[in-house]
Symmetry: C2
Subunit: 408 residues, 2 copies
């Protein structure tokens, strides 16, 4: 007889986007319960609902009150859990819903971007032990003053992982519309393959790839509490990708994935006198504008001048340029140039820590195709390069074929 497990399943907005889909989800959950497992389900709002509610709020005020906005949008998940619990009861299993404040998912009071501080598992665990299926509203919590809070975009992933950590679930299954995490985007790279396992650290580095299936914050949480996360398709019974703690065998795979990010713009200050405090003078005002600077390259030459290049999200280019141009005279730059037609291409892999020569192979592979590298940045398990945007797909394909062995 198979082992009885405690499983947390999370279904996103598309999976509960219509009454028919909610009934399909109910069947899937009931099947897990029928196999003898204990099941807690986390659901998002029906797709489109959160935007509909925010649209109402914006008709009232350009900047709606943040506390009330959370009261408003949290109704989206409340509708989903009620409907799914009803559908589950139709399958014959005892089931009920719990909202954030009913579970007691305690958060801080940062409305719209609250962080979970503690989850009370008493009511949840006793219901699961009694054979109930518990449907928990994703994305929402409650602060110390009994106010409703929400966790921000993708918050239901965070709820699911946090819940799985709190109840010590054997698995946290994230159901989505793709069937797992791939070594590269299959639409770009025909040889891309589904990874059966990936380490939390690799998944974090693959953020731009991973963001399509899992919010970065939920991966950080999974890593901290070592929650086994299973990313899989809601339309197929096949296994997807397991996010796990690394083990020795994983280092045998040198590169796990290749990823690209077109949401990048490059800004360069020309011939800046290389004096202490330069970076602070430049980047403090940019940070004040909440612009996230990704890569920074400073290359001092012997004559005491330096070119300073950095990247920002493409949409922030005008704001960043305004700040840079305002600072340029003070720091003595000769001029400012920028380029929005760039891409960041990265290779990620635990094995890079112990295998020399990976960077060299990456650069050689790109050089062979005549692709010029504009910037380089490395971390322990990642190498990123900035190249001209037009070469993005080509770069991903050749790096994948050169560095990732074909599936057996």
């Amino acid at each position: 007889m198979a082992e009885i497990m405690l499983v947390v399943q999370k279904y996103g907005g598309t999976s509960v986007g219509s009454i028919e889909r909610i009934k399909e989800v109910a069947k899937r959950v009931a099947a897990t319960r029928a196999a003898g497992h204990q099941v807690a389900v986390v659901v998002s709002a029906m797709s489109g609902e959160t935007n509909r509610l925010l649209g109402l709020a914006r008709q009232i005020a350009a900047q709606p009150d943040e506390r009330e906005r959370d009261v408003l949008v949290s109704t989206g998940e409340q509708v989903s859990v009620a409907l799914l619990a009803m559908a589950l009861k139709e399958t014959g299993y005892p089931a009920f819903s719990l909202l954030g404040h009913q579970v007691q998912i305690s958060t801080d009071s940062a409305f719209g971007r609250a962080r979970i501080k503690h989850i009370n598992t008493n009511r949840l665990l006793s219901a699961l032990r009694d054979g109930h299926i518990v449907v928990v509203a994703g994305f929402q919590g409650v602060d110390a003053e009994d106010n409703i809070t929400t966790l921000g975009r993708g918050g239901s992933d965070t709820t699911a992982v946090a819940l799985a950590a709190a109840v010590k679930a054997e698995a946290c299954e994230i159901y989505t519309d793709v069937d797992g995490v791939y070594s590269a985007d299959p639409r770009i790279c025909p040889h891309a393959r589904k990874l059966s396992r990936i380490s939390y650290d690799e998944m974090l580095e693959l953020a731009s790839l991973g963001a399509k299936v899992l919010q970065t914050r939920s991966v950080e949480l999974a890593k901290r509490y070592q929650v086994p996360v299973h990313v899989r398709s809601s339309f197929s019974p096949e296994e997807g990708t397991w996010l796990v703690q690394e083990d020795p065998s994983m280092e045998e795979v040198i590169v796990s994935g290749v990823t690209s990010d077109l949401d990048q713009a490059k800004i360069t200050l020309l011939r800046v006198p290389d004096r202490p405090g330069l970076a602070a003078k430049l980047f403090s005002p940019i940070a004040d504008d909440n612009i996230v600077v990704d890569m920074i390259i400073q290359n001092a030459s012997a004559d005491g001048f330096t070119d300073l290049t950095f990247t920002v999200p493409k949409g922030d280019t005008p704001k960043a340029l305004a700040r840079v141009k305002a600072a340029a005279p003070e720091i003595g730059a000769d001029g400012v140039v920028f380029d929005t037609e760039v891409a960041k291409v990265s290779i990620v892999g635990l094995g890079m820590r112990s295998h020399a020569g990976v960077a060299a192979r990456m650069f050689q592979t790109l050089a062979r195709e005549g692709i010029n590298i504009q910037m380089i940045s490395t971390s322990e398990i990642k190498i990123s390069v900035v190249i001209a945007a037009k070469y993005t797909e080509l770069a991903v394909r050749v790096l994948h074929d050169a560095l990732i062995p074909p599936a057996k």
Copy 2:
């Protein structure tokens, strides 16, 4: 300087039926606050929203789980309070929303028809004292196990009156789309006039008239806790009708109102042997079907037989007839006849307790118009007659003109 009052205002679904109307309500509430008063506001779901949500539930299950149905429909009021609180903040006054469980409106666990047991006023009163406008979700409460409950149709009236009682408000203002309670339906009776005051007991007897503006249950609650309720129009600044404890002067008005009810059907059992236990045998199975029997007339003749006539809501006629026909042979009735083309017309007034001859004047007035009286039923402050439906409007008009003095 005017006295500072604590006022509870209630706005129904039509009053908050669109973003524009919500903004209008915010203006009205802010004006009350600007006059120096403390204001708590109770709102219903936007019109149509509760039915939309129930429609979703019915697509999941013919009989949706009752607990989850309350989780679902209570989102309607949650959306309204959030939007109104946002709109109030735009007026510059501090305002926030409270849901049933946040106020702590404690109810029993009868989902869909819960009764309020206790209201915690701590958070509410301290916020009002600090100058905040508090927007409370109508229709919803929380049971002892922290489950969401709802109070049934018209529950927001009940929330408003119960809240006014709990905080000892100087007034509970019920804003609606009519401008008060009338001595008769103005569409039927051109001489009908708006009552400036009416006693709780009269309002209860005028239920079929009053149901258009106020739920019976909220009137019972107002009577028990002597809450001064002010029924008035959300579209006009004029005073409406005050529901108040009776005072001696009110007995001077013999008849306050005339009302009619077309939702009646009459069922008669012919020549039943008049034996003890007859009524029990007949009415127990009807009660088992949750059919509310209104008037019952039994008139025994000297030969030991009786005709037995009673009225039921028109829609329950087929169910009631089935029960009666099943019981008829056992109780020895000669036959069963029924009539759905009947109406109940009533006159209501505190003064009837001390003034003789009101009934006689009522019967004479109807006789003068050739209107045959089929059944009569009286209470201390009400006389009801059943007549042919076609005479309804005529009966209301002649009774109003004969028994209610014209406005000065």
